[in-house]
């Protein structure tokens, strides 16, 4: 992926640069809003990462201007302002995702992957296939090796989110936001427990593992082929 990063703090820029280099992405860094706006209008990017508090134009204004200017590239705001209201403000302005500093390196990579996938339109099909899994979005049914999986409505939504991000790391924050509409992490271990229940339903009666836990960052759906 080719990613534009707008950040006025060189240390933050260097840190993000390292993370994305490791995940095999190309980062283009701009340290001010005007240059970033110009660049985003001239070159194609797969995603844009924006800081909110910049020297010249703030990140929200850049987002608004890009959207008004017809730039539809997915925007992720990476900011030190991390309260729910800050997130809501950013998403309302036209950003596609919002991540607060400090963050897990894997979280940033996972979010960028998810954004990119969404923008390339892979998630809108009626039936999502991945390995041994089938997700019938309209009928709200799930199968593994053609065997019906008895999922509750919420479990189905969880499963569907995994299918939309099949093969990629899905973080706890992503699940909370997309499946339960929560922009904070409750004190109780609700995500782990609900994933555990989904995992049992996906794996009951099958030999191979279906959901992989990636320590410290999240979960990944596996192909689950025998």
């Amino acid at each position: 992926m080719r990613i534009l990063y707008v950040e006025d703090d060189p240390r933050s820029a260097a840190a993000v640069g390292e993370i994305l280099a490791q995940s095999g992405d190309v980062l283009v860094w701009e340290d001010n809003g005007s240059a970033a706006l110009l660049r985003a209008g001239l070159e194609p990017f797969d995603a844009i990462i924006l800081d909110r508090m910049l020297g010249d134009i703030d990140g929200l204004t850049i987002t608004r201007r890009m959207r008004e200017g017809g730039i539809g590239t997915p925007i992720l705001i990476l900011s030190a302002l991390g309260r729910s209201s800050d997130r809501a403000e950013g998403l309302d302005t036209g950003a596609d995702d919002y991540l607060a500093k400090p963050f897990e390196p894997e979280e940033l990579v996972a979010r960028l992957r998810a954004l990119h996938r969404r923008s390339t339109g892979r998630e809108h099909s009626a039936v999502i296939l991945y390995g041994a899994f089938e997700c019938h979005v309209k009928a709200r049914t799930a199968f593994r090796d053609n065997r019906h999986l008895p999922l509750s409505p919420k479990e189905f939504e969880l499963f569907r989110y995994f299918m939309e991000n099949a093969g990629e790391v899905v973080t706890r924050e992503m699940l909370l936001r997309h499946v339960w509409k929560m922009d904070f992490d409750p004190q109780t271990n609700v995500v782990d427990v609900n994933i555990g229940r989904l995992r049992r339903k996906l794996e009951d009666g099958f030999e191979r593992q279906a959901l992989e836990t990636i320590l410290g960052s999240g979960y990944r759906l596996l192909e689950g082929r025998a």
Binding site: A80, G82, R83, S84, P102, F184, V190
Partner: protein, 450 residues
């Protein structure tokens, strides 16, 4: 809202109209009584003067002369005043002269006077006198003129009054509209403080009381705006200046973790990262509490939220965790309970209440959530309950109850944030009094502030 409201100005105009009506009615009644009395008096005077003249004639000319004079007077039609009527009769009431049909019920021996019927439809004032041993006389004047005069007065009052009331209404409405518009500007500025800049304009009315109120309001709104802006700037800077270095620190730890294969060191590094998360969470909760407190009573930005769906979804999310902790979690949610609110914050409020219950209720316990219209949300448990000494303080920041063991994790901000969010929505969290049988447990009740 503006139209349906009872406006002070419509009440003032209404009051002015009612007062004018009452004054007019009083004035009409007074005029009516005065005119009526004057006409009566005039008739009495005429009768008495006439009677004195006729008595004189009788004294000097005798009965025959009197009969002639009565006939003469009856033949004349008066130019003004009312027509005279006479009756000369003997003591048995037999008519000798005059135009009255029969003797009225007036006693001539005491010169009685009163109102009598004259003809078929008229009435009049009359006095009877005894002229001689076998002669008596009645002189009467019709008071028919009274009715048309009085009805004329009534008509004049009605017509004039209608015009007067209309003028009062119109002028009142006109004055009220002017005042209302000025007051409404102030109200609008307070309703939409974001667009409150419109208040700071020239004094068009020479600096009267409303101008002063407008100026005070504009100043108060401006100050409020400045405070909110300063508050927002400060909290954003605070967040930025703390989170950015923490972020750098976290990056270093991540790098160190990646480079160091030693398990013991890696564990310490991971713990350090955990501490960083906790600092960030505490900072965030404090800022959230401050923001909620600052917005208390401010209804802007709130939208209808389906509380029934929200509570059900959160209970479903927590069901598994409760089961794993060997707790029984039950919820009874009335359908279609809504509230005007911030959905994300309300979710936080309910989540914090559940986090709190799951944290303190020991295995084998029960947690019951009830949502009723109102809305009233109750979170009840049969855990150790709240120490009476803690009851008043559990919603304070960083206050940890006595029943909380040392091993219980948490920032000590969960209930404080829940409390602040409730207040921002005009709700209040209360703790039910403990049941007297000592069975313990705690019941938190979130309901509209009384």
């Amino acid at each position: 809202m503006t139209e349906a409201r009872r406006s002070i100005f419509s009440r003032l105009v209404g009051g002015a109209i009612l007062l004018s009506l009452a004054l007019l009615a009083g004035l009409w009644w007074l005029t009516h009584q005065t005119v009526s009395a004057t006409l009566q008096e005039a008739a009495q005077t005429e009768v008495d003067v006439d009677l004195a003249g006729l008595a004189d004639i009788y004294a000097t000319g005798g009965q025959e002369e009197l009969e002639v004079r009565i006939a003469d007077r009856l033949a004349l039609t008066p130019m003004e005043g009312s027509a005279p009527h006479y009756l000369l009769a003997d003591d048995s009431g037999k008519v000798i002269a005059g135009d009255l049909a029969g003797w009225p019920s007036l006693d001539p021996t005491v010169s009685e006077s009163g109102v009598i019927a004259i003809g078929a439809s008229s009435k009049g004032y009359a006095r009877a006198v005894q002229l001689g041993p076998d002669l008596r006389l009645v002189v009467a004047r019709t008071t028919d003129i009274e009715a048309p005069v009085l009805s004329g007065i009534t008509t004049a009052f009605a017509a004039g009054g209608a015009v007067f009331i209309l003028l009062v209404g119109l002028l009142g409405r006109f004055a009220a509209l002017g005042l209302q518009r000025r007051i409404e500007r102030i109200n609008l500025a307070f309703r939409e403080p974001q667009d409150g800049s419109g208040l700071a304009v020239a004094r068009r009315n020479g600096g009267d009381e409303i101008d002063e109120l407008t100026a005070h309001s504009a100043a108060a709104l401006a100050r409020m705006g400045d405070l909110m802006a300063a508050y927002k700037d400060t909290s954003e800077q605070l967040a930025h200046e703390i989170r950015t270095p923490l972020s750098h620190l976290d990056n270093r730890l991540v790098k160190a973790l990646a480079e160091n294969p030693d398990r013991a060191i890696a564990e310490r590094l991971a713990e350090a990262r955990g501490e960083i998360r906790r600092i960030v969470q505490t900072l965030e909760s404090l800022l959230d509490i401050a923001a909620s407190k600052a917005k208390r009573g401010d209804r802007s930005g709130l939208a209808p939220v389906d509380l029934s769906a929200l509570v059900t979804a959160i209970c479903e999310l927590y069901a598994g965790s409760a089961e794993e902790a060997a707790l029984e979690l039950d919820w009874t949610v009335a359908p279609d309970v809504t509230i005007n609110g911030d959905e994300s914050q309300l979710r936080r409020l309910v989540t914090n209440m559940l986090d709190n219950a799951l944290k303190y209720v020991p295995p084998g316990g029960r947690i019951a959530i009830t949502l009723e219209p109102g809305p009233v949300l109750a979170v009840a448990d049969d855990g150790p309950g709240i120490d009476p000494r803690d009851r008043d303080r559990i919603f304070e920041r960083f206050y940890r109850g006595r029943t909380a063991g040392r091993e219980t994790s948490g920032s000590g901000l969960g209930l404080a944030l829940a409390h602040a969010i409730a207040e921002r929505h005009g709700l209040k969290i209360t703790l039910d009094d403990p049941v007297s049988d000592g069975s313990g447990g705690a019941v938190f009740r979130i309901a509209t502030e009384a």
